[in-house]
Amino acid sequence: MKCSYLNRVAVWSAVLSSVSCAALLLAGETPLAKLKVPAELTPEQFAEYHALVRPAADELPWAKISWQASVWEARQLAAAEGKPILIWSGGGAPPLGVC
């Protein structure tokens, strides 16, 4: 009898533990539980996804320009090469920064 009782307690305890875990999962308490990305990436997957996030060949064409970091340096270059200067300014340091 005693043994059976203990077994029942153990079973209930296990069930309760499972319920607790499920509740936590439902509440979104388990970190990253809903993420679909794998815990590890193969070298091939890593290369593929890294390339996916980086700019495609036809994106950000202005980023291919050799922008100067200061007006004085741009003036030096423009004077030496006989060219005008384009200044692109704004919050977030366009065209190379965040906006």
Binding site: G82, L86, S89
Partner: protein, 321 residues
Amino acid sequence: MFLRDVCGLKFSGAGGDRVAITADGKVLAKNYQTCVRDALKGWDALPEAERKPGAVNVGKREATDDDRPKPPPGGLIVKVYLRALGHDDHGKLRHAVPKDFIGDGDLRARYLQINPGLKLRDDEVDRIAQNFRTHKRAYEAHPDYMWLTEEEWKSLVPDKPTVGNTFPVPPGITKRIFRFHLDLNRTIGDPISQKIHLGELSLKVESVSPAEISMRLGGFAKVSDDLSGNNNRTFEARLYGRLVVDRKTGTFSRFDMLALGDTYGPFEAGLGHWPYSRPGRSPYGIAFGLLDAAASPAERFVPPRGAGPRFTWSSYFGTPK
């Protein structure tokens, strides 16, 4: 000083300007949309004597011309790209497309799903949908720069590398990556400093040879724009990385990292984002890599998060300069 005193220019600030000048300060064009075309026309109209190489003597650099934030000496500049992603019909990650944001004629319902009770006129819904159809901003890779001091990047190089050894990334670097560079608002609004809910990063030595040490980075993070504690937009991600140290130079020859995960929840108001958040969980990716050796001079000076004059050493590096 030169732009203000010689060219007589005033800049609008965050809104942005495109201006064309000559090396000696003549303003050729100021219209944002037609600047390049106007500038070339104005340039061609100048006398040959003013246009030829060497015609202008620029003079010495003024001290105020170099009043800009600079990366730490001997430090590492890491180029970062952030991009909204989507899933294809087979569940595979792909670039985001307009349908991911505006749905299939159900934008209003999607709006209400994430912002219940919000009142929207039909023309507002149409305008938002049109923005997402025509502007590339929401879909393109967005650049950023991460700076590490010499002391910091050297702390990632094991003294006695042994295959299989694992060690945590120092907290200062981990916190910087999570707080400033897992930026979930970037592709649709202003950069934000985020609240870190949880996360960790570690490095594992994978191979060691006389030429190089190869390490794998792994970890996870949960961050949000939860600045007011109101259940705001959150980014949950796993982090992966491949880092290689060139033992001859003692420097990193590869510093590739990747954060992949989901964003969800409504954006906090006032972050400069478009007035719309994708409902549900939306895939999002951030790629890190060493700044290309062929990068433009300007890229070596753009501060993290494009902070410009607002960049402060202590808030970013967590230490006084």
